[in-house]
Amino acid sequence: MNIRNKFPNAGQVAQVFAVASIVIYGWTTYRLIQKLPSWLYYLNFQEILSNTSYTLVFDFVETLLFIGLILLLNFLLPRKFFLDFFVARGSLLSVFGLGYLIYLALAVGASKATQFPTDLFRWSPLALLVILTLAIFLPRIETIRKVAEDFANRAVIFLYILLPLTGLETLIFVINNLL
């Protein structure tokens, strides 16, 4: 069996990548916007630009890692459980999985530094299993699958903005850290 047949094509990966990017970049941007008013009090424009370079570089690496996990999952699971509706399943997994991480992040933020919500994290494997199950089985409902696929297809447009911007900021990041 050709191992390439176990993987989706580049276009499909790009669509799921786009969905994951929207959530990951979106969350960081949301947090950055919350920080921005205080940064404006003591950082100049150049320094704020440097800060954004870190966020975009980390977001990009994080998205790659997340896509890597999805591809690994796709590789490990039988074809009919993931590859058959890769875009829909990958997109739902991105939205639900990363959405759950946002929920955890909010819980951690609300708990403050000294009261980590350990119990919440103990239940996380179960929660992630439920999310995976939903991501696998919901696309069998045609409407949901079509909505997920259409969204992923349109999300690709964001990559035309995100990727060049990330490239530029990576350059700033590299210059700041190597030169």
Partner: protein
Amino acid sequence: MSNYNRRDFLKLLAAVPAAYTLSRLLPESVFRYSAGNPGAPNVILLVFDTLSAYHLSVYGYQRKTTPNLERFAKRANVYHAHYSAANFTTPGVASILTGLYPWTHRALHLSGLVARELAGRNIFESLGQDYHRFAFSQNVMATNLLDQFRTGIDELLPSSSFSELSLLPSEFFKKDTNTAHQTLDNLLFDFVDPPGSLLFGLGQRLYFEESKKFSRDFPRGIPQPRNYPIVYKLEDLFNGLMDTLDRLAAPHFSYIHLFSPHAPYRAHKDFIGMFDDGWLYPKKPESVFSEGESYATTEKNRVWYDEYIANVDFEFGRLLDHLEQTGVLDTSYLVVTSDHGELLQRGVKGHVTPLLYEPLVRVPLLISSPGQTQGNSIDSPTSSVDLLPTLLSVTGRTVPDWTEGRLLPGFGGEHNPDRTVYMLDAKSSSSFGELSQATFSMRRGKYKVILYRGYKEYGKDVFELYDLENDPEEFNDLFDPQTTLSQEFSAEIIKKFDEINKVPGRKI
């Protein structure tokens, strides 16, 4: 050269092993002044974070929190009216290191920086290369400032040094620490608010919480710089510092900033319960800026804070013993101070507040000169901005004209009980423009006046006036617009505030 022959050379060569053996036998302190400036004294500037003079028995506090500082006071100049220029770390440390008041250096915010054009005005640059300039701060915000001064620092240790566990991401980006600190420590891997990074941020947090070992020695948890993923034990920290001070080439200037006794107050078990004496601090009226802390909670925190101070003092005692035994105190200035105090009253716990009451800004200052054996009490008001000119002066440097501090009494400065010193909190104002919202305080003689400007809680300029000689606890606000005293002080503080607000800010 012609007077020396081969036989003389061989004799000289034979002396080399003997000299080497002798060098190993003699104490290391004999060879300390071998660096660029032979005979110059070392300076050890030890800053304890959040150490309010109001909680130290060396300054008359009811509980015996600092027996070792008291021991040190018997051989040091003790400043009884010493003020930090601000009420939290960033502006407080910036004032110590630059000799400038916060309205000039402009490091007004938690992760703020000194005005970029003034970054060269600091004690490290001013000391010059004759000194080995060493710096270490456990407080990440102070490290951020040190990083700004790094061209003048020969050795800068990361905040995580001597710790049990550290996952501080910015320390991996040594060439761009400030940006990494702003973005990674305070956004993507935020420990206070939700982390901006979903996979890495949460992963780091989970790993840190799982790796932090519970220790029976620390029932309230192992000491940790609030908001950052570092845990440490005071004993290990002080052992590390002793080793470090032993190895530093002389003469050295060492800035050492320890996070304890900053909250969370996590004393070693040996100190827990030592102040269960039932004593309660007098209840004071709630501040407009009260955080809603109940009196009972505040008093519980007072006990915890005092126990933590006693723990820190015990470790300081070990350091003091070590410095005495190794002869370092005979060749060094040892400065003990703090960047700001702590308020546990009026509904407030901590120091992130616009208030400038005495416990928040009156900090310890004890300085022993090389070989000093007698204690000396100094009552004149002094400020943290005085440290830079004083330390430059005692090390033989010219005091720069840009500093806003003066020589401390006892080191060439005049004893002036009517001297004016200032304190400022302006964390809600921009570093680049006017101070639109600020608390500004002025101590002159026995009086202290406080101006609150721009707060929506007040809606207008509000003043407080205290007679610290007769009311050191600031119970009775004497401000009455009808009295001449109040009119004079309010006019003067407004005049000064308007003057400092003319300092041109930088534009973005």
